[in-house]
């Protein structure tokens, strides 16, 4: 079983990395022929960086758009970030100081992550408009994430697997050697779901993460009168004349 899971982990990580890089290259290589920043648009490159930071850290636009979605979404994303940081202890030896420091916070974050996800799920179920636009995959994505978070919490608070063995397993994987993983059902479920998430990342709406950075309405400086902006395919129209 350990080996089977290892193969799946390698495979999904490969799909995740290669797929994501390819997608990013695709975005970066596609021209944005016209200046289309949305108001309030900064006029300088520095302003764009600030705007992007506000979007990434505070979800500024979503905050303007809908407070409940913002509360749930922000809580979920930043809890998950803490949880991911907490998990670095399974991949580092010795464990970095700051990772050690955040261990207890990471546990609370697991709980708030589920709370945020349940908020998002409730919105999908109970708000007529959101229910209308939801596809089965939208629900499954939330269920998958709730599954990941709650199986993690289950291992923390109910049935502890041998974490030393778990750590050895991952340190081994990082050096291309497959070691034994504790035969714990919840652990297997947890890991399978996590790597399923990575597997579908480059071909699903999870692409919103890299997408934001390439969104012309957010990443362009509003200076069209000061500097001529022209895409290569559009410039060709001029040389043809």
């Amino acid at each position: 079983m350990s080996t089977l899971l290892a193969i799946f982990i390698y495979l999904s990580t490969l799909v995740f990395v290669v797929g994501l890089l390819q997608r990013i290259r695709d975005y970066a290589g596609t021209p944005a022929p016209l200046k289309i920043p949305t108001t309030p648009a900064p006029t300088t490159g520095g302003g764009v960086v600030l705007r992007m930071v506000r979007e990434v850290v505070f979800f500024e636009s979503l905050f303007k758009g809908n407070l409940w979605t913002w509360v749930s979404g922000w809580l979920f994303h930043f809890s998950m970030l803490l949880v991911v940081f907490r998990h670095l202890r399974y991949f580092t030896e010795p464990v970095w100081g700051w990772v050690d420091f955040i261990q207890p916070f990471g546990i609370y974050a697991g709980i708030t992550m589920v709370a945020g996800l349940l908020g998002l799920l409730a919105r999908r179920i109970f708000v007529e408009r959101i229910r209308y636009i939801s596809t089965p995959s939208d629900f499954l994505m939330l269920v998958l994430l709730i599954g990941i978070a709650s199986s993690g919490l289950l291992m923390k608070f109910v049935g502890h697997p041998d974490v030393i063995m778990v750590k050895n397993y991952f340190l081994g994987l990082m050096h291309l050697s497959i070691r034994e993983l504790p035969s714990n059902f919840v652990l297997y479920a947890h890991l399978s779901m996590v790597f399923t998430l990575l597997l579908i990342f480059p071909m699903s709406k999870l692409l919103h993460a890299p997408g934001l950075f390439f969104s012309p309405s957010r990443n362009q400086a509003d200076n069209p009168r000061e500097k001529r902006h022209i895409a290569p395919w559009a410039a060709k129209l001029e040389s043809e004349k």
């Binding site: 303007k64 758009g65 408009r129 071909m203 919103h208 934001l212 969104s215 309405s217 001029e238």
Partner: protein
């Protein structure tokens, strides 16, 4: 129009419940063969439309990063779902921005993503059937490309970009919209959206000179095709004859007169509007804009100033430099752009908005006003969507909001704001933008005006507002038609330069 009843005002701004299918079959007239063919599009749908449409979609995905990212990035969070005036007014769920995008996104997933190819039902992917194409035609012509949804989207997804792509695909298979394509044909043939030939324009302008002389006793000129003039004014052709637009044209002329600015109109390039934007077609957008470049070069002007028109200002401010070189900062090796940029006077922004021009003159104390001439009005200001969310003025963020308001305060005593949830970048479209200003879409236009009308009613009741100023030809035309349906006088709407015209004192400085 008497038979069209407006939707009821919402007592408090609740989000309306869904009425699926409410606006099915309420789309515009389909363009006949001749109109499509004049623009180089197929005349009508042919048997191979499906493959051509998918190929066109692939082509657009490779040329527009906006479309590619926006197709992928949406997570269906719903932040935009209650932000569209057409959704609020019609309650049709397919008028929610996300649902409008999904009409195309579902097809994108089916043909361009692995999960959509393997598990279409799971991810909401659909084949592009004739029914889907009809749905596109219907609902992508119930979007005014106003970008309000984009303000609230966590990824900045702009439904306007999706609507434009959809319309371009529809045009590419011969399924165009009559109104927009007919107007573009007129620009190519005659030089303006209304199809007014040069002699008719000159006639109108002479009439205006007589009118102004009669009213003020001053010889204010409306020059046409004057070589060597300093300023070329490019204004929407509605300014030449439509009410209340013409009053703003008189206002511009008075400002030029009072400041001793030599200026001219062009009979060849007599249109600021650019419906190429509405149909999302870069070639059309560019070809139409090229007339302005040509006029500027031929007349040898130093400055290009744009009249009161929302989408025209977006095209002028954001796109002219890209499309035609009207602007600054071209690469030294860029011969095409340099040819024009060397001619223009870069002490001024190129192009400038007429409001930027007038506000500069006010700051330089070159204009004198008798504000009491506007005392019969309690004025509010409607931010037009393309000015508010697709452009700028004054060169600093938010200048497009301040400058028109500054002018109003400089020429009038009574100014009040409408509810802040519907102004500045959160402003609501008038309901007639984006190529929807046609009688065959009257139903959606009236319903789409609801959110603006609610807040206008509020300032009318609370503050006695009797004049709503704006700087958009489409807003003016739309409100003139829609205001009476909501129980207002149609003369409640007018231009900022109409107020300038009322108050300006000629022959004082």
């Amino acid at each position: 129009m008497a038979d069209i009843a407006p939707p009821a005002y919402r007592t408090f701004p609740i989000i309306p419940e869904l009425k699926p299918g409410a606006m099915e079959g309420k789309g515009p007239f389909v363009a006949p063969d001749k109109i499509n063919e004049a623009l180089g599009f197929p005349g009508h749908l042919e048997d191979d439309w499906h493959d051509k449409a998918i190929a066109k979609m692939g082509d657009l995905l490779s040329r527009y990063r906006s479309l590619k990212v926006y197709m992928d990035a949406c997570v269906h969070c719903g932040a935009c779902s209650d932000k569209c005036h057409y959704f609020i007014g019609t309650q049709d769920p397919k008028n929610m921005p996300v649902a409008r995008q999904d009409l195309m996104r579902s097809v994108y997933r089916r043909y361009f993503t692995l999960p959509g190819k393997l598990f279409p039902k799971l991810v909401g992917a659909r084949d592009l059937t004739r029914e889907v194409l009809d749905e596109w035609f219907n609902y992508y012509h119930q979007c005014s490309e106003c970008r309000r949804c984009s303000v609230f989207c966590p990824y900045g997804i702009d439904t306007a970009e999706v609507t434009m792509a959809a319309r371009e695909i529809l045009d590419s298979v011969g399924y165009g919209q009559k109104y927009a394509n007919e107007i573009i044909g007129k620009v190519h043939k005659i030089g303006n959206n209304l199809g007014l030939p040069g002699p008719a324009l000159i006639d109108t302008l002479e009439g205006l000179e007589e009118d102004v002389k009669e009213a003020t006793g001053v010889d204010v000129r409306f020059p046409m095709d004057v070589k060597g003039a300093e300023v070329l004014l490019i204004t929407p052709s509605a300014d030449f004859f439509a009410e209340p637009h013409i009053d703003s044209l008189i206002g511009y002329a008075k400002v030029f007169h009072a400041t001793g600015t030599s200026w001219t109109l062009s009979s060849m390039s007599s249109e600021a509007g650019n419906f190429g934007l509405f149909i999302g077609n870069y070639d059309q957008l560019r070809t139409i804009a090229m007339r302005i470049r040509q006029a500027a070069l031929e007349l040898g002007v130093k400055r290009i100033v744009v009249g009161e028109c929302g989408h025209a200002w977006r095209v002028a401010y954001s796109f002219w430099n890209t499309l035609t070189g009207v602007g600054d900062g071209a690469d030294p090796n860029d011969r095409f752009a340099q040819m024009l940029q060397k001619q223009l006077d870069h002490r001024y922004k190129q192009p400038s908005h007429i409001c930027e021009f007038t506000w500069d003159m006010i700051q330089d104390e070159r204009l004198v006003f008798d504000k009491s001439k506007n005392d019969k009005y309690v004025i509010t200001y409607h931010d037009s969507c393309n000015v508010a969310r697709g452009s700028n003025m004054g060169g600093y963020p938010g200048g497009q909001f301040d400058i028109p308001r500054n002018i109003i305060r400089a020429v009038a005593n009574n100014f009040v704001e409408m509810d802040s949830s519907t102004s500045y970048e959160r402003t609501f479209c008038c309901g007639g933008g984006g190529g929807l200003l046609t009688d065959d879409l009257m139903d959606v236009r009236v319903k789409g005006a609801l959110p603006r009308m609610e807040k206008l009613q509020q300032v009318k009741d609370e503050e006695g507002v009797n004049f709503m100023a704006c700087i958009c030809a489409i807003c003016k035309a739309q409100f003139t038609k829609v205001l009476p349906i909501y129980g207002f006088d149609r003369k409640v709407v007018g231009g900022v330069h109409q107020l300038v015209s009322n108050a300006i004192q000629l022959g004082v400085k």
